[in-house]
Subunit: 273 residues, 4 copies
Amino acid sequence: MRILFMGDVVGRSGRDALTARLPELRATLGAELVVVNGENASHGFGLAPDMARAFFTAGADVITLGNHAWDRKELIPYLETEPRVIRPANFPPGTPGHGAFVAVLADGRRALVVNVMGRLFMDPLDDPFRAVQAELAKHRMGTGGTIQAAVIDVHAEASSEKYAFGHSFDGMVSLVVGTHTHTPSADHQILPGGTAYMTDAGMCGDYDSVIGMQKGGAALRFWRKMPGEKLAPAEGEATLCGVFVETDDATGLARRVEPVRLGGRLSQAMPAA
Amino acid sequence: MRILFMGDVVGRSGRDALTARLPELRATLGAELVVVNGENASHGFGLAPDMARAFFTAGADVITLGNHAWDRKELIPYLETEPRVIRPANFPPGTPGHGAFVAVLADGRRALVVNVMGRLFMDPLDDPFRAVQAELAKHRMGTGGTIQAAVIDVHAEASSEKYAFGHSFDGMVSLVVGTHTHTPSADHQILPGGTAYMTDAGMCGDYDSVIGMQKGGAALRFWRKMPGEKLAPAEGEATLCGVFVETDDATGLARRVEPVRLGGRLSQAMPAA
Amino acid sequence: MRILFMGDVVGRSGRDALTARLPELRATLGAELVVVNGENASHGFGLAPDMARAFFTAGADVITLGNHAWDRKELIPYLETEPRVIRPANFPPGTPGHGAFVAVLADGRRALVVNVMGRLFMDPLDDPFRAVQAELAKHRMGTGGTIQAAVIDVHAEASSEKYAFGHSFDGMVSLVVGTHTHTPSADHQILPGGTAYMTDAGMCGDYDSVIGMQKGGAALRFWRKMPGEKLAPAEGEATLCGVFVETDDATGLARRVEPVRLGGRLSQAMPAA
Amino acid sequence: MRILFMGDVVGRSGRDALTARLPELRATLGAELVVVNGENASHGFGLAPDMARAFFTAGADVITLGNHAWDRKELIPYLETEPRVIRPANFPPGTPGHGAFVAVLADGRRALVVNVMGRLFMDPLDDPFRAVQAELAKHRMGTGGTIQAAVIDVHAEASSEKYAFGHSFDGMVSLVVGTHTHTPSADHQILPGGTAYMTDAGMCGDYDSVIGMQKGGAALRFWRKMPGEKLAPAEGEATLCGVFVETDDATGLARRVEPVRLGGRLSQAMPAA
Ligand SMILES: [Fe+2]
Ligand SMILES: [Fe+2]
Ligand SMILES: [Fe+2]
Ligand SMILES: [Fe+2]
Ligand SMILES: [Fe+2]
Ligand SMILES: [Fe+2]
Ligand SMILES: [Fe+2]
Ligand SMILES: [Fe+2]
């Protein structure tokens, strides 16, 4: 299966770049499953239903979230009707929405996507490792299994926790990819057990910024410890950052993993088709 | 000036790779200033004086540290006699050692190196922004100035704090490079004011690990919240991770910035010579 | 039921005071259930089995722990054989020991004791609120119930989390008492639903100290951000700090709650017998 | 000097109780210096200028703040004109307002009040220990000195940091008192060097609450990790919590220290006049 995962979309700059370029990117890469992290789409804070719809129209199959899941309240009822938008699976029982979704491809193959949030330097949610374990227990991956691929979006701050995720589920899923730092890592690799791994997919946003937000005000916050101007997303051209994985449907494991960086200020990276 | 910065060296695997390959790497790149972050050289925790000497012999000009600065106590007296090893500048007044060093090249050009520690999700040291500002106030960069280049090693957890550093000193220094996450970022760029920036240089260590430490025990720590086996560095072949910058001596600002990833599991990256 | 709860016993000073004075204290108050938090008994870090035995001999019925539960490794096998020593219930499944114990009084009445750890500013364990809820679901409190009293030791840093505990279980348990800050609070009260509450029981240790540890070295840690001398418990006379509660066996709810402060530097407090 | 310090005033309940009862309390105790922490007066978040004026009218001489200093923006210009309202001294240089104030009593005696914020589990401001040290360096305490008393309000989360403060300045100031946890401690004592100490003064607010805020919504935040109703201050009768100290003007050191708890749900405490 050819899987494309795009990191946190930030603000209008990120949304515009994603909706403009995803159709062609999907076609060029022959991507069969496209997952997009949308937690910062709405002015940096949350995701509005119409933005989710625009992402689906542009070619996303599944949208994941993170600590900003609830910033736009309209998303809460929308989650109940739109299972393709998932929030971290390790919120407590009773939380609206779902933490996993099984996408069915046109040809009938199936791919599990799980969103989970780390706890190091973040809000103490339920155990994200056991949450993933519980989702995986519902499936068998590979030929004749209930799924042919599995993607885990680990929305987390600490690189140590993300690597611990990668190794804990190495050989059990297709891809463990981090989000949340808004910084693409250059450590994409296939782990020894066959799982593709990348510490952070990076963001889809303007990199002349402080992780997507206008640099003046965001930097001042570190100098002056006072409330300043409201933070707003930077408005320069976005770099679309993500990762492309090709898996073996027989096992669900990865054959190759390559970064995607398209447009904007960062060095460009495009997998061979 | 041609500047090579290498990220946190972790354990024997990292040390061996660095001392074996730095001489050739320095020659190939024509690097005139080599800075190495050594805070994890000693079994993952701290730096011993003989390791520092080996790094100098292999071609390092300056060694920086971080939150593990004091893990090997022998380093404390050594810092007083070896100014080329610097610890974060924002430790409180009275702390042994120094937070900055001016390296003098063979041809007389001078380069300031400052080490500083972030505070977000880390120990609350003194303000790292004002610490860098104070070091820079002692110098004028460029032709006829007291320095021709300036490198800031921002040892920090949060990508937001690192970007805030980059933008705060954009146009004032040659390079702002992060360390500490042990994960190379793919966001190297020249900021609008002319400063080269990279969120994290990555580590010099084995990437089949949890940020350099053996993956079994390190991952278990996230599953079981109990003291387990001692953490020990992974022993597979290290990837040497860093960043190469070429500056204009007239201004001290960057002309190009490129990542370095050499050996081990990660995708290889080598600047053109 | 007459219940005495004593806060974190710190080091030799705390142990000596507790074992010397608990027999008389128990007798004076007519306490029928005595719970002691022992997580810092061993030089400030953990609890050794022989110390637990000494506490039982002196009159403790149940010993609770906290974040220092595993500092003395000998305790781990001991927990399997001694159910009267409990560790926080919200450690992950598979953790040695148990998080709750039902003490049976001489006359057959039964009291549930649960130990749980907060997560705000602490290690992200499992949800402590649901952990308590799960323990309570196993019992019915009051006349004819499976228990006649229930004590919850909330080992936590933040006063907000402790108050949230108190109110969440108000009317369902006899006492919610905090530990961990080593500072007795003066806010003991019976909440509107009938549960006795006190944010922190305080420690059994020397208060001429930094929360039980020798003040010189402990204070220096805040001034100098370097490894200094090893921390060691202060050795002055301990104040035994705790709380006394009298409940109605018919409901398990509290009739009165009063602080205990005995010996050492703090103002003395002793409930009327 | 007879000094009364009142902890964080929370919302209307706290304000009403303070303004109603402070005149009599001041008179009863013969207090010559009254300091009030006002950081939560305005609906739990910040202090409005008219509330400050009401506190002065009711008998406050100095008002201190904390992490909520800037929640009401109108306070920022007010701080420039009203030096009796102070914010933590360890904000960075350039921050509006001042971190210390010298109150002059009717008979000419002078008392220094310093407000400072801890850093453990809080925003990493400048070093609070050196900030206090710098303020004290401007004065000599005692007969013939520039001040006859000195009060330090340590607005901090961790009891360890507060005790470290107490011991660091023991013998140099009249009183080190903590604020911010909104929980009165029962560990008031005169430290060996003569400084009165109390880990937390407690709040002036309704104790049938989660540290002053309505208990339903505040507790739910720990159960559900979602945005719920807005937090609002609890509206029951406040307990006024604080500490009373009597000093020797010749040395500035403490002769006695006693808690104050007046009204509301908590056990009442009133120093002998
Ligand atoms: Fe996020
Ligand atoms: Fe994000
Ligand atoms: Fe490191
Ligand atoms: Fe580090
Ligand atoms: Fe403790
Ligand atoms: Fe503890
Ligand atoms: Fe506060
Ligand atoms: Fe407060």
